[in-house]
């Protein structure tokens, strides 16, 4: 018997909880639609800013043995070009049943709001605010997601111009994670994505005798991040009513169910595409269903947050 994997996220119904995480596979209409066809319940575009950005020079993305480390540096074509691409993405996604989440970032609350105003013209079902990229600190200063007040200011600025479903992407590196979550919720967020990459970390090449990433440091994702992300989701779900996309190192049905038991409404998948490409979506869904069948669980609502004992 088929299990009900559909979930509610910020007032939007997803056919299943799996979300292509932002930054994986970029923002091209072709690849977003391909992830949708592969089975994702929602796909998230790569974060875009008001103006185009080149990002950091290579090396920018590396596999280090226990996951990925990256400092791409938020390369993107700018909000206007992004809007046009997302219009194509929505057209190509028709009939897939997947939802489009558009990710936006800025260097000031006003820049966030202006970029959201442009990207929203493409009609994504949900907007996600990336206030937590750890790879542009030398340029932008500390991520907004590390400070409750700064995170709230961004959320408020966007809330004032955008009435639709709004997620805010938090950082596992915030020492005051719960305060940030509360501040963002009070400022009008409809949900949280928890969260961004961990660290930052650094790799040094022995023969070159220098850091490998051109940015020197970069965020960790993949298996090494997962237990941290689960803890972050768990802590936030314990005190907030907002739905959460639990994101960090999920690569199996068990990983996804763990996020749901921690309290996540939906589950992001990103670095796992390194291993098997978009086949990961169908496999994770099959594994989730098999576990639910075995354990007699009819819907994810039955087990959401059940680990809060």
């Amino acid at each position: 018997m088929a299990r009900d994997l559909s979930v509610e996220l910020a007032g939007v119904r997803l056919r299943n909880p799996l979300v292509l995480a932002s930054g994986i596979w970029g923002s091209a209409a072709g690849t977003l639609a391909r992830a949708a066809r592969a089975g994702a319940g929602a796909v998230t575009s790569k974060s875009c800013s008001l103006e185009p950005r080149a990002g950091h020079p290579n090396p920018t993305v590396l596999h280090w043995g226990h996951g990925l480390i990256n400092a791409v540096g938020l390369s993107n074509p700018g909000a206007a070009a992004e809007r046009d691409e997302l219009v194509h993405a929505r057209a190509e996604m028709v009939g897939t049943g997947a939802v489009l989440i558009a990710s936006v970032f800025g260097d000031t609350p006003a820049a966030f709001a202006e970029a959201v105003g442009i990207v929203a013209q493409a009609g994504p079902e949900i907007i996600e605010l990336n206030i937590s990229c750890p790879n542009v600190q030398s340029e932008f200063g500390r991520p907004f997601a590390l400070e409750p007040l700064a995170a709230a200011q961004v959320t408020e600025a966007v809330r004032a111009v955008y009435p639709g479903p709004l997620l805010v992407k938090l950082s596992p590196n915030a020492t005051e994670l719960l305060a940030v979550g509360r501040a963002v919720a009070a400022a009008g967020a409809d949900g949280l994505t928890v969260g961004n990459t961990l660290g930052p970390g650094m790799l040094i090449d022995l023969e070159a005798r220098r850091p490998i990433l051109s940015n020197r440091v970069g965020g960790l994702s993949g298996p090494a991040l997962r237990p941290v992300a689960v803890r972050c989701v768990y802590e936030l779900a314990a005190v907030l009513e907002l739905p959460i996309i639990g994101t960090g190192g999920v690569a199996s049905g068990r990983d996804a169910l763990e996020m749901v038991m921690a309290g996540a409404a939906a589950v992001g998948i990103g670095s796992a595409l390194y291993d098997e490409g978009d086949a990961v979506f169908a496999r994770v869904l099959t594994e989730m269903e098999a576990w639910m069948e075995r354990e007699g669980v009819a819907s994810l609502d039955e087990i959401r947050g059940c680990a809060h004992v």
């Binding site: 970029g26 091209a28 690849t31 790569k46 090449d205």
Partner: protein
Amino acid sequence: MSDAIYRTYRIVERRPEGAVGATLILDGALAAEPGQFVMVWLPGIEERPLAVMDDDPLSMTVRVVGPFTRALAACGPGDRLWVRGPFGRGFPVKGERLLLAGGGSGVASLTLLAKRALAVGAAVRVALGARSSDQLMLPWRFAGLGCELLLATDDGSAGMAGTALDALEPALAAGWPDLVCACGPEVMLRALARRMAGGATPLYLSLERAMKCGFGVCGNCTCGDRLVCRDGPVFPVDEVLCLLEPTLG
């Protein structure tokens, strides 16, 4: 304890390629399929994808187009290179009569295919195109392997006056090849795809894109719904019909 991300090699030989670049022959092998690529890092400068020109010893051919390729082409014997890979899906080694078409730095994607095809007894003809004779890359390599060379230059300074497509047209018109493989500027690939559309001869194209990760995660190198680094860089032509659109995907 983890494996090193890069393997380091030293350059054994540097061979100039006309006036436009150089072939670098390294001090070790790296098993690769024809058409695969590696990411080459020059610490303090940059990291870029380069075709595996030969896998034993690992060799690559660089055409100078910017700061990274200028620095790489200036390297010589004893200098170190940092390499990760190989990545991507290469050319199939099949058929008895292979017609290869190369332009620009793309010709380096075809040499290992020629080597493998000749090793299993196939006949290989290679059409190389460039603006002038001093811009041709790797004709010595294809000739040394035993390929039949079909040269074309815009100014007629080597081979016929025209393009690589002009050079291969007689073989194509005669129905000679049972497999056609090409790498070069997309305007050339597009023209070849249009020329062969509707025919029965399989056509494989190797695409070039700016890349970041090289392994199918970052989405920097898309062509339609394909990731050039992981699904390609070699594609059967019907997988990359986006190439045939007026603006590239």
